[in-house]
Symmetry: C2
Subunit: 502 residues, 2 copies
């Protein structure tokens, strides 16, 4: 069913041009479909995925080595995301309807102006290797774009091409059942960046969603900037998720924290964007003690199979480069022998002085590795935090007493990331309205948006104001009667009431 | 009082570095100031400007040639903008507070997550030559950035440097009176792009606001993209604001429409970004008749002094280049002799065939000039609209009958711009919550935002999520009790109610 690209047979540009023309034509129909019907379409995608659950787990396990429990959890999460966006557009207030009514008595007369968010058009979604379901073919980017009223072209990840095609077959069924345009979602495959570049550069493309490496995200941004008409690229790229362990909590909760963070560092073989890669503390017995306990936990962790051989060799290469850096000392590593395509966990330590003098220590090593930085004092800790670039998360591990003692360090932690955690490990990204999965560059290309949670839909829309329109020409969201019963800002007051006709 | 740059005396980079360091230090204080106090600061700026009104009008008239009535109107608008943003942050709901409470019974336990918008940091505002008050030193960009909690460095426009300095003296007084940090707003001057480039490239800069030419905006974007950490540039650059006159309304309302649009084309010597530059119609007696009436009105318009000699010579150069294009015919021009630095109004006409074959016709001629395009039929009209780039406005001049007859053309008009008008002229940008002054590229660099109206504040913020925080560590906006009584999304329900502590 899905369209695949064989570069031997057809030219990539010709193929992509026809895909994008179809997406554009579909968009002109799909954008007019009522929110209730779009919501039903999303729910149907979830239902069709559920029907394939067993098969999906089998194929995805073959392609990604991820264990069945994790894959089942991720399928459930993917279905929940689709349901969340369906609920969001059924409720309807997300369009930020805003109405200022006319005042003909004013000099000059004040016109009636009403605005709402409208979809931008065809969106390109790149599947992510580390989330074959939740950040891939029918993942958050696709679900949020479809909810907004935009059409989607998915570039499936070649590391799980069969999984991607199978998920797309569920989407295709949902398209048929729901009666939305045939090309509302399309699926293309293709190794290398030929296809991806052609998709990003195409004039009909209006937005791009990507989760992956810094190099990958940066090249997409460069393509987008080369366009005659630039388009936004929402790339979630790289984050090493600093954690600061404050002294008072270390003196009280070391064992519990060691368990929590050993679990977080090694979860899913460390293949999460929110993996805690830097563990900061101030020199002293309590930090030493904590690191010893952490080391003990880490050494017990069984090596886990990584997603594919490329990621595994990157991990091993990154790790051995890191171990060569001056001043780095291994605290502990998995004691079990590491098998084929497996990653052994490792934690190491370095002084803040060494850390500050060598930029290599902030390179992301994607896998179950973390570096503890031992600071002489608060000032050195602050210097370390100031040296960091933008992050997805920043974790504060502290008691009330710590918080009172270190307000300036905590303020620095707040400036670093899109999500700040208190006494929580950063792995595990809750799918909810208040989530921010984004952060200052280079964590993402645009800190003003999130790729997880309900507001991820805001990436695929723009506001449009309608001035002096007759009520019958307005979309339902802006009609006087408020037939959708959404929350609106009417003459600077939030209300679900109808607007009194003037 | 204001800091000025003499490149003979000091190096621009050293000077800008000290300005940005001061702005960054001020930001670290200013961002913590309560919204009520920030609002009072904005209101005080307005009050201090009001005290200088007479002097401001005199100086601005000398520098810009704009008539006193217009300048007085613009000062009032500037004060109203400050008041609007003060009211917005006093009400407080603009921060989009969103709360998802914990659920410890779930597997895995659901953490408490709360998010809101926070200011990004120092913002650079470029004064606009065509609005010495409303889009300059204390204009909408400055007011919205200060309201958000960001600090501002204004690059005053050299065409009205004394006006800019005088407005800044009012801001300085307001800083002293309000007790906000001394460097919350700073003012720099400097011809050419040395200073502007240094400001945009500085690592402490977190956002840029600009209203001006396409070339100017594009170069700022290029500087921003050269940075190690890119920053958003909100540039409002170029728009020729297409208007479509549909047949039925032309057969009924030609005289009234001719008066309305002659006024709009020549308002303020055509020096508005929303000036209607393209007037589309379908060939026939009624469009001919309308253009004759429009010509009559235009020929009666007195030439007006332009803002400065540079703009005036650009207008004359642009106009004479346009008049050389194949197929262009003048309909009418100001009958009065054109004096020094004055612009004579002119409307011309061209067939759609010629229009479509020559890209020069869509070049912006900044001044009281407009081009009528005569289309053979609906299809040709649609081709013309499809050939246009993004616009600030798109005007539909139509009866109900026209609207029923031409739904596909109207749909195309909707896709073109950030503001769609029905039977209104596009000049006159109302300052209100529902306004969108923005549009697809190259009208602005980012169609997702507006530079006029309350939501202009959204350009200077990013969302931050706080996970698992104790109530006493949360900002007021996110505390259980909701002490600011703002509208929040709590567990997917919009409410001003307190959150029940778990």
């Amino acid at each position: 069913m899905q369209e695949t690209l064989s570069e031997k047979v057809i030219d990539a540009d010709v193929f992509i041009n026809s895909v994008m023309q179809q997406s554009f034509n579909a968009f002109n129909q799909y954008k007019k479909i009522a929110p209730q019907k779009r919501a039903a379409f999303l729910e149907t995608i979830a239902a069709e995925i559920e029907k394939l659950r067993e098969q999906l787990v089998t194929v995805a396990h073959e392609e990604t080595n991820l264990p069945a429990a994790r894959l089942n959890g991720e399928i459930t999460r993917t279905e929940n995301q689709l349901a969340m966006f369906a609920a969001l557009i059924k409720e309807g207030s997300w369009v930020e309807a805003s109405i200022d009514t006319a005042d003909n008595k004013r000099t000059p007369p004040k016109p009636d102006i009403r605005k709402m968010l409208v979809p931008v058009g065809p969106v390109i979604v790149f599947g992510a290797s580390n989330f074959p379901f939740a950040f891939s073919t029918a993942g958050g980017d696709t679900a949020s774009a479809l909810a907004s009223g935009s059409t989607v072209v998915v570039k499936g990840h070649s590391a799980h091409a069969r999984t991607s095609a199978l998920v797309f077959s569920a989407i295709k069924k949902a398209i048929d059942i729901s009666g939305v345009p045939e090309h509302t979602v399309q699926h293309v495959l293709g190794k290398g960046n030929t296809v991806g570049k052609a998709l990003v550069m195409h004039p009909f493309t209006k937005g791009v969603g990507f989760t992956g490496s810094y190099a990958g995200g940066k090249s997409l941004v460069e393509y987008a900037n080369q366009r005659e008409i630039p388009v936004p690229v929402f790339a979630e790229m790289s984050s090493i998720n600093p954690v600061v362990f404050y002294p008072d909590t270390l003196s009280k909760n070391a064992a519990q924290l060691a368990t929590m963070f050993a679990g977080s560092v090694t979860l899913g073989a460390g293949q999460f964007c929110t993996n805690p890669g830097l563990l900061f503390g101030i020199k002293g017995e309590s930090f030493d003690h904590f690191l010893k306990l952490l080391g003990k936990e880490i050494s017990k962790v069984q090596p886990q199979k990584m997603l594919h051989s490329g990621i595994c060799s990157s991990y091993n290469k990154g790790l051995s480069e890191m171990l060569e850096q001056h001043g780095l000392q291994i605290i502990a590593q998995s004691e079990t022998d590491v098998g084929d395509m497996e990653a052994g966990a490792l934690v190491a330590t370095v002084t803040a002085e060494n850390f500050l003098s060598n930029k290599h220590f902030v390179e992301e090593v994607f896998g179950p590795y973390s570096l503890a930085i031992i600071c002489d004092d608060k000032n050195q800790l602050m210097q370390c935090l100031q040296s960091l670039k933008g992050q997805l998360t920043s974790s504060i591990i502290a008691t009330e007493k710590d918080i009172e003692t270190y307000p300036d360090v905590i303020e620095l932690q707040h400036a670093l990331a899109g999500r700040i955690l208190l006494n929580n490990a950063p792995t595990g990204v809750e799918v909810c309205a208040a989530m921010v999965h984004g952060g200052p560059y280079p964590a993402t290309t645009d800190a003003r948006f999130t790729s997880v949670g309900a507001t991820a839909i805001k990436r695929w829309v723009r506001p449009v104001a309608l001035q002096h329109f007759n009520d019958n020409m307005l979309p339902d969201e802006l009609k006087n009667e408020n037939p959708l019963n959404i929350l609106r800002l009417v003459n600077n007051v939030y209300t679900r009431d109808a607007v009194k006709a003037v």
